[in-house]
Symmetry: C2
Subunit: 586 residues, 2 copies
């Protein structure tokens, strides 16, 4: 310890570290849990949320630390790695610490992004289980989601084939579903571009109902969005029953409850409310729960995981997806509002590489060699690019909590570059720490850990950006100006009409605003780096997720089904048939 991350692949580090990983029984003792609160699944386990939260309800919460980032390059700047590294650093300081991260999707794991388990000496283990579905939550979501589509399409077939009298014999009323207004698609947890646009129901009278349809990746399911914000099983059941599957010929919503399938869907999802417990390579606890998209959902681990983590740990670290303008804004105004929890600190992860890109460095393209500007000292590019970081510091400060900037260190960073970032960050009124967790694990993250511990002692004046009473269009305007730095918002006529109708409908009064915007820029244009000036945010549509209770103003396209590349990761994954171990994950 630490492992030589310059020579070992992540799965090889994981394999070594897993040899001494705590068993479910050992976790139970270490975390002071009761026998039936730990539910083993092979060498990992789930924690019984309802039992633990009830038993610990009077215990004060630990410190609540969010990890977010500057606007990243397409390669990502290491939020998960920093989350794990920070936990390891706090562990080295003797703190009772843990974190919550998202469950990865099979899509990226088998395509090009890898498993999102962190990396190097800041890695979550066991990596095989983490990468291949953990205890099955994603499968449960996928099955529950697809069961709704089975119910819908079978119902459409039977309503076409039977008259009202035949339907009445089965105690069914005609729903009159509009085949051109089916909102929901099917799910699969891979990047399957061939299933993005499909025609189903080809054949005859008994082969469903012919219409256009689509598949989306399982993590983009509304069920996943719901799991991330549900407070308990009762809340989960209620929200599942409100999902709008389609509209009828008169334009009324047809829900999972109308299809009489919401109970069975919940039956599939009954175990998903319990977070899974895994480990860092330095053996601190890592909660994994939910893995929602960061555009149409909150893009971070669940409220349930944070509630339980804050009761069990003195320092609970939680990661929010995408950059601070997206991930932190949702953490702040949606997740914390829904949970009632108050954060102490937000760590903003930055890399010298991404800052140089914001200063005007050449385009960074996944799969291609990184241009020289990024591997050699270049203070002018860096200084210019720091404006993006300073903007994100400002966003966090607007929430009334303490920002701590973490420079996620690369071996090509020079002392002068580091010094420059430090100076400008401190000028902007934030703490700054360099962290080498990838190379050195917790020992490399001590400076970060100390900065976070220190920041946790500062007073917090947490406040939301807007009150929930504020009408939708005004909310969007506040977010666009105050968070993104836009001059204003422009709505298409269709989007504006939809927004007006939403504002007037009391059913949507407690719905959250879930912005859909690229994370590759503060603006809606992914090519606009740094801090774009003199632009307005275009809103083209507003999606409504009635189960999750989200209103999603759309400022760009979203694909709910990524594509598998020409050189996907599955080519290199295999099983050692003598040991049963999976090799080649990264």
């Amino acid at each position: 310890m630490p492992y030589d991350a310059t020579k070992m692949a992540d799965w090889q580090i994981a394999e070594e570290a897993e040899k001494n990983m705590p068993t479910p029984d050992e976790w139970r003792e270490r975390l002071g849990l009761e026998k039936d609160e730990v539910i083993p699944y092979g060498r990992i386990c789930k924690l019984d949320f309802m039992k633990i939260i009830e038993r610990l309800k009077d215990r004060p919460n630990g410190k609540y630390i969010n990890v977010t980032a500057i606007t990243p390059t397409p390669l990502g700047e290491g939020k998960t790695t920093t989350t794990i590294g920070l936990v390891e650093g706090l562990g080295k300081r003797g703190k009772n610490v843990g974190c919550a991260i998202r469950q990865p999707s099979g899509g990226p794991t088998f395509n090009i992004k890898g498993t999102a388990a962190g990396g190097g000496n800041a890695l979550a283990i066991p990596m095989t289980e983490f990468s291949l579905g953990l205890t099955g939550d994603l499968n449960d979501i996928m099955n529950a989601h697809n069961l709704a589509m089975v119910a819908l399409t079978a119902r459409m077939q039977h309503e076409r084939n039977y008259d009202d009298a035949e339907l009445a014999k089965r105690n069914l009323r005609r729903l009159n579903i509009d085949p051109t207004r089916v909102e929901m698609g099917w799910t699969i947890d891979f990047c399957a571009q061939a299933l993005r646009n499909i025609i189903i129901g080809i054949g005859g009278r008994m082969d469903g109902y012919m219409m256009q349809s689509k598949f989306q990746i399982a993590v983009s399911s509304e069920l996943m969005a719901i799991l991330a914000v549900a407070n308990d099983l009762k809340d989960l059941r209620e929200r599942i029953g409100k999902i709008i599957v389609a509209y009828d010929m008169k334009g009324n919503p047809v829900t999972t409850s109308d299809l009489e399938v919401a109970g069975a869907m919940t039956a599939f999802m009954r175990n998903t409310i319990n977070p899974t417990l895994i480990s860092t390579v330095e053996y601190q606890p890592v909660l994994v729960h939910a893995g929602p998209f960061a555009n149409i959902a909150i893009g971070q681990s669940s409220i349930i995981a944070d509630r339980i983590g804050l009761k069990m740990f003195d320092y609970h670290v939680t990661e929010s997806g995408f950059a601070a303008d997206i991930g932190f804004e949702k953490f702040w105004n949606v997740k914390c509002r829904m949970s009632g929890l108050v954060p102490n600190v937000s760590v903003i992860v930055a890399t010298i590489r991404a800052l140089k890109m914001h200063g005007g460095g050449p385009k960074v393209v996944p799969g291609r060699p990184i241009p020289e500007e990024y591997t050699r000292e270049n203070l002018p590019l860096l200084e210019k690019g720091i404006e993006n970081l300073v903007h994100h510091i400002g966003i966090v400060k607007k929430a009334g909590i303490n920002p701590v900037v973490c420079i996620n260190s690369f071996y090509t960073d020079t002392p002068e570059e580091i010094k420059l970032v430090r100076r400008l960050v401190e000028q902007a009124g934030a703490r700054c720490a360099v962290s080498e967790h990838w190379l050195k694990g917790g020992e490399g993250a001590l400076e970060l850990a100390d900065a976070v511990i220190d920041a946790c002692n500062d007073p917090v004046d947490f406040k939301f950006l807007y009150p929930l009473e504020m009408p939708l269009r005004q909310r969007v305007e506040v977010i666009a100006k105050e968070v993104y730095g836009a001059d204003g918002v422009v709505w298409t006529p269709e989007a504006e009409a939809k927004a007006k109708a939403i504002e007037e409908n009391p059913a949507y009064r407690d719905f959250a605003t879930m912005m859909v915007k690229t994370h590759l820029s503060l603006s809606h244009n992914p090519d606009a780096k740094g801090v774009p000036k003199g632009w307005v945010l275009p809103v083209r549509d507003v999606l409504i997720f009635a189960g999750a209770k989200f209103l999603c103003p759309m400022t760009g396209t979203i694909s709910l089904m990524p594509g598998t590349s020409s050189d996907p990761a599955f080519r290199r994954i295999d099983v050692d048939v003598n040991t049963g171990k999976v090799i080649g994950l990264f």
Copy 2:
């Protein structure tokens, strides 16, 4: 005990019985297993096959008891219930007993058939876990299967979009897949008739490859067929790599290995080789492993489950799907040949109801009230129908093992009817026992248990129906005449040409013959009841499953995707949000 099965639904009996169900730790002690041989998953567990089979390799096998049935009504005559009941009966006699059954599919569970967990006091528990995916094997199979389709369709897109030089940069050679000869479909574990025939890849250059495609139910996947016959992880990996996904433009097979996806598929399936251990309501061990279709696969639990069961139990009961002409024939000539295991006894389950149907009783239709002939004494119908049972006795005797007929008792059966069956069964040279396990559990199955114990002491002269050297067409003729009672076989020209090519190809020399025929008649015509005479078996095609190593002569249509009915079970399934318990399963 027993529970009042006339008043309690199966899920209610299960809920009561689950209160005292052995924990994984208790099972370990009871079965004398080592600590790391039992892998807990919540309140159920998996058994580490490789470790146990290695440790017990020198222990003599227990008695090997197969459960099959006469030609059933469409309602089924209770093979699983009898399997569980027999285990309970042998348990009451103080025997060290266990069994192996198939994992049910989500399709029937959420449609009309229910969970296939047995019923009444002959029920497998915990019913919720059993009905909703156990430890995830079916999801693992579904994901592994769909990953192959992701690999195929992405490859077809990239081969269309890139020239050879671009492909070479990624170390890919052009596979030239014929879009009209894609053999494999996608899987989902529901009855989703709307996905039977679909068009995929609609959109543009980055949206896959436009072609016809299909979904099949997960249990019909070749991966499930493979899991049921694989001997170990190494065998599983090798077979997975030989699956034919499509053919190229020259007619050569394109396999999962060609797509470089077989390793990643095996990674998904790494845990599936370990059988799951659950319980009867009287707390005997029940192994659940694999759930392959009974037409294109063996339709019964796995070789792995039987190998491990025979080492752990003195009496190991295993169920084979469908009637003896299908299920037992495959058990006998395929499963036992592949495993090298020798059975002692085959229990043939019969009901008075089904026998009357074979004697000319009116049609039995699921979901409609049962005609009066079946609920009132009718000796002439019964006597005539017993010929079907006598034929099945003859099939079992051809294998050189002992048949025991079990009359699965209904409360409408009369003493005279029972007496008649007993007399004619004994005349046919088989033991006969009446069993009331549904009503009374093990106490009700003592007569059956005693008959089986007794039969296990008889000498066995086990012999296959045909040697593996026999050419395919001759094998089919032997099966048709000796097992089904046909006068001969007639091949379509296409099927005959295919059969000839197969016979001449040394690659298929060790492939099993896996007949595809309805189980609702001894013939290929489901309406021909009793023992049809004067008919020939038509073979229309021969399917080749290169991973499973099956040749499937097709004597009828097979649907690999059932449909969801107009009154499906999911309407009545829900979760009690206070306790987390699933209600409404049956």
